[in-house]
């Protein structure tokens, strides 16, 4: 739980602006008959670091996947960077190129080298010339501290390295918002730290982040807001200090006692 804590973080660097990055109003989603997301209301300001916690099946992943339309919502409104998500493909592509995403299983492209993984989207979506895209990719690979792996294939890297490449790949599109869907859940304890360190660095640079994770140490340290979800609803949200020390709802107390209690 405390793996992220050995890296000192300067909280004064973490600032939140008044500008709205994401606005979700009355969002509902069903899988067939099953009501997965119920009346979600959430406003995210630029520079916020939000950690979303909750038991499995509570809809946390589904919620952040709605933000870049990997899942479609059936009711309500999602506005990302001033663009509303509708079935208009142009809007969807625009939002997707502004919003970066990291997955639990990294989802690197195994047939491409690390460098090619990073240059693919800039070259084909942003039409960046190859040289420039490669420079950009190397810049971000250095940032996640694995420039020396650029010519290898994803299968040759450790899980932690792969996840850092996945972060670099997203950053190459120079997104204004990053979504993390359980980025450390598939990693060994030693590798969790290297990924969390990278995420902390991003936070310090003012990236707007939404992060589904079970790393409560990370939440305490980096998040400015923790959201607790259960049964498709937002049950409680608060500043991390209050959230962990003084949870209001019974459901939150139970959850926290289960994940922190051992």
């Amino acid at each position: 739980m405390s793996l992220a804590q050995d890296r000192a973080i300067d909280r004064s660097k973490l600032t939140v602006s008044d500008e709205v990055a994401i606005q979700i109003t009355n969002m509902n989603k069903w899988y067939g008959e099953f009501h997965v997301l119920r009346d979600i209301n959430l406003t995210v300001n630029r520079g916020e670091r939000i950690v979303i916690a909750g038991p499995s099946g509570s809809g946390k992943s589904t919620m952040i996947r709605c933000i870049n339309r990997l899942e479609e919502h059936q009711k309500g409104k999602i506005i990302v960077d001033g663009t509303e998500l509708t079935s208009d493909l142009k809007n969807i592509d625009k939002i997707r190129s502004e919003v970066g995403m990291c997955f639990q299983h990294f989802n690197l492209f195994p047939h491409l080298t690390i460098l090619e993984n990073c240059t693919l989207a800039p070259m084909w979506v942003r039409k960046t010339p190859k040289r420039e895209a490669e420079e950009l990719a190397m810049h971000f690979l250095e940032k996640v501290k694995i420039p020396e792996q650029a010519d290898k294939y994803p299968g040759m890297l450790s899980g932690g390295q792969q996840q850092r490449v996945a972060i670099a790949r997203s950053l190459c599109m120079q997104p204004r918002i990053m979504l993390f869907d359980e980025p450390t859940s598939a990693l060994d304890p030693e590798m969790i730290k290297e990924v969390l360190d990278t995420m902390i660095e991003l936070a310090e640079e003012g990236m707007t982040m939404l992060c589904v994770t079970h790393e409560m140490g990370f939440a305490r340290q980096v998040a400015n807001r923790v959201i607790f979800m259960d049964q498709g609803q937002i049950v409680e949200q608060n500043e991390p200090e209050e959230f962990f020390n003084n949870p209001k709802s019974e459901r939150t107390k139970l959850f926290l006692s289960q994940i922190l209690g051992h």
Binding site: N107, L120, W124
Partner: protein, 436 residues
């Protein structure tokens, strides 16, 4: 304690390396492990050696002692009787004597150079597709080759094929122009309409005019019914292979489409074609198709057969590729989406390279099947090698010769198919990047 004392041990000198026992290395070891590892295996080995010896003793003299120079079966037997006192030997002379016919069918013998040139051009234009070390500029030859093939094999002036090529270029231009303003589907439709207008209404008169005033690059015309032998197998086989892969990809994607109409058409097509024997389709191509076409349109028989063979194998291809698509984790689609790649870019850059790689064994399997199925055209009156073997026997000179022709034809197909198989294995090894 004494136990502690006995555990303590220090080595004083390092042992030299020593050679392994004779029975543990090289050939001796291999024989011991694989052929004589126990009494049962030893018996099996001896029995197998005996069987191999018997088969070889029977077949090898027949194969190797054959006659290569004779003009009829009778003459051949006479030579054998004189040489061995019996005729239990092969009569390969039929192959040397009918060599040209087996290769070119009834193609006019003054024009063989055209077929040979087309064959070498084919190898040259396949090279950059098969091997990425070959300079990419060679791909221009690959693009021009289908038109060169038609011109070289069927003859006529160059204007005909140039006009067909111009249709593709015009379609491409229309696609680019519309693509700037409209959607993908709209530009595809525009391309097809423009090309069709050119081919059906404008091009015939243009070609006639040019032929009349400027007969450029005229070669003696050859009719489709004169094509045959190995040549027709290669023409149908290679065309079918080259066309069925892209059509198969489109069908496989269509089958997964969210659009109900597209999906229904693709599923219907695949299930219909897979449910019908190829020979039925070939009969349709040779007999029925002309009834449905507007009177006066001469639609070449070879072209009709190529279309049918292509449609047939593209249905199989679609299912093979669907298997590859199904094997890809959903995360790959999601990662491509999340990066902002649109559907076609995601397919081209992320999904297809992986799905096709997974499907290589199945794809090559379909290719090999298609290539061997080209022998079925003998049933609709095209003289491929198998059809020619019947025709050769129908001649009194070679009446009664079976084995030699069938062995030769089998060997030719085996070489082609084995080459495809080895290539696919090499390609699989080369593209293996995910493990290690």
């Amino acid at each position: 304690m004494s136990t502690t004392k006995s555990l303590s041990y220090v080595r004083k000198e390092i042992l030299e390396q020593q050679p392994a026992p004779r029975s543990q290395v090289g050939f001796t070891r291999w024989v011991r492990e694989n052929l004589f590892s126990g009494w049962f295996n030893s018996i099996l080995t001896l029995v197998s050696i005996f069987v191999i010896y018997k088969v070889a003793a029977a077949a090898l003299p027949w194969l190797l002692g054959g006659v290569w120079d004779a003009s009829s079966l009778e003459e051949c037997r006479a030579v054998l009787n004189e040489r061995f006192g019996n005729t239990h030997y092969a009569c390969w002379a039929v192959i040397t004597e009918r060599w040209n016919q087996l290769l070119y069918g009834f193609y006019p013998d003054t024009e063989y150079w055209r077929a040979n040139l087309a064959f070498f051009l084919m190898l040259a234009s396949l090279a950059p597709v098969l091997f990425d070390k070959i300079p990419r500029k060679m791909l221009y030859l690959t693009m021009a080759f289908p038109f060169l093939l038609v011109w070289l094999v069927w003859g006529g002036t160059l204007w005909g094929v140039i006009s067909v090529a111009a249709g593709f270029v015009l379609g491409g231009v229309a696609f680019k122009l519309v693509d700037r303003y409209g959607s993908m589907a709209l530009s595809a439709i525009a391309a097809v309409v423009v090309a069709a207008i050119w081919w059906l209404f404008i091009s015939p008169s243009v070609v006639d005019g040019l032929n009349a005033f400027l007969p450029f690059g005229h070669l003696q015309e050859v009719q489709s019914r004169d094509l045959g032998g190995f040549m027709i197998c290669v023409i149908i086989g290679i065309s079918g292979i080259a066309l069925s892969l892209p059509i198969g990809i489109v069908l496989a994607l269509g089958r997964q489409s969210d659009l109900f109409v597209v999906k229904t058409i693709c599923v219907g097509f695949i299930e219909f074609i897979r449910g019908v024997p190829l020979i039925t389709l070939l009969f349709t191509a040779s007999l029925l198709l002309n009834y449905f076409l507007p009177p006066g349109t001469a639609f070449d028989l070879t072209l009709r057969v190529i279309i049918m063979v292509t449609l047939f194998s593209s249905a199989y291809m679609a299912e093979v590729i669907r298997g590859g698509l199904a094997a890809l984790p959903k995360g790959q689609y999601e990662a491509a989406d999340a990066l902002g790649l649109d559907y076609w870019k995601a397919q081209r850059l992320v999904i297809m390279p992986q799905a096709l790689k997974i499907s290589i064994p199945g794809i090559v399997n379909t290719f090999i099947g298609l290539f061997k199925d080209t022998t079925l055209v003998m049933f609709i009156g095209i003289y491929d090698m198998l059809g020619l073997s019947n025709a050769i026997r129908a001649n009194s000179a070679w009446n009664g010769i079976y084995w030699e022709l069938f062995i030769f034809i089998g060997l030719v197909f085996w070489i082609c198919c084995f080459a495809m198989s080895r290539y696919s294995q090499w390609l699989e090894r080369k593209l293996r990047t995910d493990h290690r």
